[in-house]
């Protein structure tokens, strides 16, 4: 809906939203890959000898945590780019913010799917185990990051303070990843990205996991592109609203 207060001279818009040919193609590829993830995870891959069918939860649990790590790493890289490059581009800040928002959702899904798997494997939904606790801490830290982004001020103030936070909290990721080695943990160690280089998975299980990781990575890229463009429009409308409020205040002052 057009708001006269924010857009005094609306122009005819060619684009209906934040989509382009590239994002549409990416969207189609993502939907296809998500379909394959469900098919391989639920139907084609075999049940595990020890875990039974509960291993199928891993084909969504592992890709969600991979995507969350990826999202938080991108947030840190974009935060560093904003802070340390000569031109402090707000584009980096928007990608950092968009990536963190998406990462938080994927981290929440990691916790939920992990709890469902934990109930079947350990008999409890939650245990204050090293991996689970550090993951929950990471999740809460990024909610804090999003709260910092919403504190107000100019766009550059927002970008600077959130970039500092983004660079600090990303250091929790190695802690989460290696928590199973650093402390005695209920959680199993990595089956694929292990330091000894061995892959402890059957071929079809590994392939199912790979399909899920590719699907969720494509989904992440698609979401970040759309969300960062939406953020750019929100920033622009905020600037326009502020300019108009200032103009109105000046006009009032001249009248009086």
């Amino acid at each position: 809906m057009t708001s006269p207060a924010l857009a005094p001279e609306p122009t005819v818009s060619r684009s209906a939203g934040t989509g382009t040919h590239v994002t549409r193609l990416l969207g189609i590829a993502t939907i296809v890959m998500i379909g394959w993830t469900a098919a391989f995870g639920l139907l084609f891959s075999p049940a595990d000898r020890n875990q039974g069918d509960s291993v199928r939860i891993m084909y969504v649990h592992v890709p969600t945590v991979w995507t969350a790590y990826l999202a938080f790493t991108v947030t840190a890289l974009c935060s560093a780019s904003y802070l340390f490059r000569k031109k402090h581009s707000l584009g980096f800040d928007r990608v950092a913010g968009a990536s963190a928002e998406i990462g938080v959702v994927f981290m929440a899904l990691t916790l939920v799917t992990g709890m469902l798997w934990g109930r079947l494997t350990w008999g409890v939904y939650w245990e204050w185990d090293a991996r689970l606790t550090t993951t929950a801490l990471l999740f809460v830290s990024y909610i804090g990051y999003l709260a910092v982004r919403g504190l107000g001020g100019t766009h550059h103030q927002r970008a600077k303070r959130s970039a500092v936070v983004g660079l600090l909290i990303v250091l929790e990721i190695p802690l989460v990843h290696w928590s199973v080695k650093l402390w005695r943990s209920l959680h199993q160690e990595a089956s694929v990205l292990d330091t000894d280089g061995d892959i402890d998975l059957d071929g079809l299980m590994l392939f199912s996991l790979f399909v899920g990781v590719v699907a969720f990575t494509l989904l992440y890229v698609w979401l970040v592109l759309h969300r960062s463009r939406t953020m750019a429009m929100e920033d622009l409308l905020e600037d326009q609203g502020l300019d108009e409020a200032l103009a109105a205040r000046r006009a009032e002052a001249v009248m009086s």
Binding site: M1, T2, S3, L6, A7, P10, T11, S13, R14, S15, A16, G17, T18, G19, T20, I34, A38, G41, L42, L43, A47, G52, D53, S54, R56, I57, V60, H61, T64, I102, V105, A108, L109, V112, T113, L116, W117, R119, L120, L219, W222, L223, L225, H226, R227, R229, T230, A232, M233, E234, L236, L237
Partner: protein, 51 residues
């Protein structure tokens, strides 16, 4: 296919984890696209770097 799914051990937990995951990411995608469509008409095309 459906019979195989239902016959699965702990089908509620396994299928539930997929349903929750896909429903949440679907809702997130829908919300982001809807917000973009809501804002786009208020912005001049010249300011949309992706067009």
């Amino acid at each position: 296919m459906i019979v195989a799914l239902i016959a699965m051990e702990d089908a509620g937990f396994v299928i539930g984890s997929y349903v929750i995951t896909f429903a949440v990411v679907g809702a997130l995608a829908w919300r982001i696209v809807r917000r973009g469509r809501e804002l786009a008409p208020r912005i001049d095309d010249a300011d949309k770097y992706w067009t």
